[in-house]
Symmetry: C2
Subunit: 379 residues, 2 copies
């Protein structure tokens, strides 16, 4: 059993503080390794589908053919939104941030079904099944188009792209997106997963936990920043502008998007796999720009900040992959959530086993001896 | 600076782990003392209004007359709900748990205004101002009645009761509810406040943080249980049934509602103040039943579980007070949230100062060496 000594200062970000035992996933930051239920991510990416990985995370093992048929049909049967959720999404102004829409729509699922009591596998599956429908429905409505009903004969990834456009997506796009969904499904005790577990620890319902997870994922320090990678690549624009742009940014102490991570002290294994996907599904020009930017940025970061170990993180090529399959960049965080909800729900199910309320302490820095005076006597 | 040693087991509930420095409030569990910004809760309860306490929590000091006039008029001017929030509440089925409605309606505020970027005082104030309107609007709609527009000339507490009934409330009810709102406004690093701070630490917005807080507060181990106190008192029914009912419950190892707390190892100071409020606003019969139940339960708990220090917690007389001012018992948790949102938002504003992402670790209990096999080869 690991043991760490914490002080108020050390624990501020809970760095290194172990808050739970989990059998779901682990990040081995020094080795650049991510494991889901015993499988290194490289064992799963490009081989297992998102539905198989959902089964792995929720049930603890990859499904056999009977189990896979069952989870596929259960998920596809639960994609349509309850009327109250649809009405909620329709109430959102077209200018709504898609993460605000997803947070509100997901919360409405809890009200509409309703979702209450101890978390169940079926609730986990239902929430995960409905997330793409919330995002696609809102995206269609904000563009003045009719929402497209889900198609049960398509996979989770393919159906999401189908509901966005109304067209059966290219197989290469489905493969890229499905791999992305597998790669982002879980990642140890990240902030949104931790949020979901804190909420679940009060014995609140799984929908409340997931809604909290969306709120945390929205933050730019967590899942809210991949679009900024695309903004950066747009600003760089061409290969011959990579060096001057990055030099200028680093000279001006501007943070480069897509590099560095709290836990990884070497290359994020997901970034390596996503790089391959990006190469397959992007135009050669775009990939050359992204790859050139990555290489020069790493070279300069290592030269200028040799005390830090900054490597390409998952956001960099996530942005490239999601862009290449045709997603608007303001849908990147919601698409991250479409993947991560599988992990959040697995963690909620796990938290319920031998649950203990997560209730930490704070260090009080204020006075304790003030005496009330009526408003008329206050300075 | 305090220092604790934690292991995976010890940190499971983060008991005693200091996760933040705060100047907002502190619970001194061994002394039975709660302090807001330097004032013991007994200094404030019954003297300061909820609006004054909001100012205290957000700005760090009690308002002078000019500041009080300003915060009152700012809050009363922000009570009406944006159209999209109203439409969202109207979309909720009448059977919706009021906490699910509040979570969804609060989330819709973030979409409708919208709320984004670094948290501000005005956002904190706006969310707090709108909470009673969400709860009262839904309560009217589910009863088949028209929602009642807020009245700017009423206090926060009085207007909440007014929006529920359409009648100007009794002064004694306003006083009881206002005192309740003051007492529940903040409470150190409780699970919902911690949830809000974890979400805020990703640099997500204050609405996302508050929505997470609602989800955590909904849990029966946090704010979701006060109605169960009323259910217990209903079942006891009469003074002569107190002893047999409690004896039977304890013999059957049934947990009595309203006793015990993670942090307090003596009487919760809020329970003492709420007892007085309950005595003033309840019928003599009801108060005698509640008081008699409390006294006999404590006597038996101390006799049977002499190793534990179980005292009356805030839920016991919260239930009695909220019942006495005429609230349906399924509105108790939402009314708790109407108070606590002031604390959540104060903590989010504080978290933003020198923020660091809250990203803990987990202990992995699974394997790491499994090899992928295609579905056709799985057992």
């Amino acid at each position: 059993m690991s043991s760490v000594s914490t002080s108020a200062a050390a624990a501020k970000g809970l760095d290194g503080v172990v808050v739970a035992s989990t059998g779901i996933s682990q990040v081995f930051g020094n080795e650049g390794r991510l494991v889901y239920r015993g499988y290194s991510i490289g064992q799963l990416a490009g081989k297992a589908t998102f539905e198989e990985v959902c089964h792995l995370l929720w049930k603890g093992h990859l499904p056999n053919q009977v189990e896979l048929d069952e989870i596929r049909s259960m998920m596809s049967a639960r994609r349509a939104l309850p009327e109250a959720v649809l009405a909620t999404i329709k109430a959102m102004p077209a200018s709504t941030d898609p993460m605000d829409d997803l947070r509100t729509g997901a919360s409405a699922i809890g009200a509409a079904l309703p979702i209450s009591g101890p978390a169940t596998y079926e609730q986990a599956l239902t929430l995960t099944a409905m997330f793409p429908t919330i995002v696609a429905t809102f995206d269609r409505l904000r563009k003045g188009k009719e929402p497209i009903a889900p198609r049960a004969d398509l996979s989770h990834a393919a159906n999401y792209l189908y509901m966005l456009t109304g067209n059966i997506p290219h197989e290469s796009h489905v493969k890229s997106l499905d791999t992305y969904l597998v790669l982002l499904a879980d990642h140890g005790m990240n902030a949104s997963t931790f949020t979901a577990r804190v909420i679940a620890s009060t014995e609140s319902d799984i929908c409340s936990a997931v809604v909290g997870g969306i709120g945390a994922l929205k933050g730019p320090l967590h899942g809210g920043a991949p679009a900024l990678v695309m903004d950066m690549l747009d600003q760089i624009g061409a290969q011959n502008n990579i060096k001057p742009w990055i030099d200028r940014a680093l000279d001006g102490h501007i943070k480069l998007m897509g590099f560095g991570h709290r836990v990884y002290k070497t290359t994020d294994p997901r970034a390596e796999i996503l790089r391959t996907m990006a190469q397959q599904s992007s135009t050669p020009e775009f990939f050359a720009l992204a790859r050139g930017t990555e290489e020069y940025a790493l070279e300069e970061l290592h030269r200028r900040k040799s005390d830090q170990r900054l490597y390409t993180n998952v956001e960099f090529y996530s942005a490239a992959v999601l862009n290449s399959v045709g997603l608007d960049r303001d849908l990147f965080p919601s698409t991250f959530a479409i993947s991560r909800v599988s992990g959040w729900t697995a963690h909620v199910l796990e938290q319920m086993v031998g649950n203990r309320l997560i209730r930490p302490q704070s260090e009080y820095t204020g006075r304790t001896d003030l005496v009330f005076t009526p408003v008329s006597e206050r300075p």
